[in-house]
């Protein structure tokens, strides 16, 4: 499944929070968006699925396998969310409903988009829990979010995003709120699942090191604009724009150097 964002502009009030962003995620590719806070990367992701906040207006074009999403009806978009496009958000503590069991939440996209009975849905949820590495899947599905650790909750989020075998996954800072060891595990999980199923991935992060581990191509955003894009290897070693250079230098100055 391919995603083409063409000259996307999002205005909130009189501010252009996303200013002419163009981005291409070819089928099966792993593309990243990196930028500091306020750069517009999260809003770009939200725009893809029509999840922009009230009062935001978007112009431009967003095409999923050629099909125009911008301006599509809420009904059409709802049909795509969770089925054709899966999303993983940043904070598993707040994106999971605290009063619904984890199993039911994993199965929710399934029950929303397919005709599946309760028992089958549960079986699928158990299978999904196992796939994302949750311990004791049979019993985990009956637990509530607060009974799981942050890393486990994020795995639940990933299971929810992938259960309908979407062609595209949008991930917005999925590991930022996690501990460093958990982050490594969740990233590895991400990589494995995306590889196995050849899902396209759009991964948003502020962390250059994470970007380099997960994605092959990336766009650098600043103040709502794409200032540079290309293979991640090139962005790291031969950055052209000063924002990119600034990011790389600052990251080197504050990140672990193994050698």
């Amino acid at each position: 499944m391919s995603l083409v964002i063409d000259d996307l502009t999002v205005t909130i009030g009189d501010r252009r929070v996303v200013d002419g962003v163009s981005l291409h995620v070819p089928d099966g590719a792993r593309v990243g968006m990196i930028g500091e806070s306020g750069s517009g990367k999260s809003l770009t992701t939200l725009a893809v699925l029509g999840l922009l906040p009230d009062g935001a207006r978007a112009t431009g074009s967003i095409r999923l396998d050629g099909r125009e999403l911008l301006g599509a009806s809420e009904r059409e978009l709802a049909g795509l969310r969770g089925r054709v496009v899966g999303t993983v958000f940043q904070d598993p503590g707040t994106t999971l409903d605290p009063v619904v069991t984890v199993g039911r939440q994993i199965a929710e996209p399934l029950r929303l988009h397919t005709r599946i009975g309760r028992r089958d849905a549960r079986a699928r949820a158990v299978a999904a829990a196992a796939e994302v590495g949750l311990p004791e899947p049979e019993s985990v599905v009956d637990l509530y979010p607060h009974q799981l650790s942050g890393g486990q909750r994020q795995r639940v989020g990933i299971a929810m995003a992938l259960i309908n075998r979407p062609g595209l996954v949008l991930a917005d800072e999925p590991t930022t709120a996690l501990d460093v060891t958990t982050q490594a595990e969740v990233l590895a999980l991400f990589q494995r699942l995306v590889d196995e199923r050849r899902t396209s991935l759009l991964f948003v992060t502020h962390d250059l090191a994470v970007l380099s581990r997960i994605t092959d191509h990336a766009a650098v955003l600043s103040h709502g604009r794409v200032v540079e894009s290309g293979p991640v290897e090139q962005l790291l070693h031969r950055p052209e724009h000063e924002v990119t250079r600034g990011l790389v230098e600052a990251t080197r100055a504050t990140t672990w150097r193994a050698s």
Partner: protein, 268 residues
Amino acid sequence: MSDRTTDTAPPLLVARGLTRTFTLPRRSPFQPGPVRHALVDADLEVAAGESVALIGESGSGKSTLVRLLLALDRATSGTVAFDGRTVAPDRASRLRWLRRQTGIVLQDPYSSLDPRMRVGDTIAEPLRALGVEGDHDRLVAEMLERVGLDAGDAEAWPHEFSGGQRQRIALARALVHRPRLLIGDEPMSALDVTVRAQVLDLLRELRDERGLALLLVSHDIGLVQHLADRVAVLRDGRIVEQGATDDVLRRPRHDYTRTLVDSVPTLD
């Protein structure tokens, strides 16, 4: 990191066998409540002018340790001594000697400044509380300029500043009374990477020009590598490994340390 002599310096802060246990509310009247061992038998030393990092993930006990070291909480057992004097919770007036020599910077720049106090008043708080002599306004103005802000910003409110600027204000507050030890509890984790680099530089400058001892609590191994002489790794309330930064991080002896270091995503 080498021209600050740390080998022969006397220990400034010494913690021995620090333990903190919490008894949680009991679930039934017939059984005692469950016990949580937040910190178990921790030994730690910071010499004058030395930078020590405490590496731990959430739940490792690092915040508990910081509170115990600052007498903001009472240890279940173990001792803390600063410059040879025992440190234990007491009335604020009796702890003034300790407060005069320590400064703290916390993690969240959006909640560490009182939203109803002007920036200048916030920075001057230690000066007032500790009865420091001298022209407070001038000291505040100097501090503001030193951290890269404007002397005129003393009249402004915290909400007018960005996260990085707020951390600078917090740093100003922590150092205005010229302490000998600065304690940072994840001071950079809420900041963007370019801001982080700037604040890191600032921190290093301040440390070097004042001969500050630094106790940095962080889960960020990169930061630790760039700032600390010695490192202690905390896990589930226990210090599992301690030593010179390079030794511990490049040749870890404990499995947990190894996992930590391996988990960090690196550039290339």
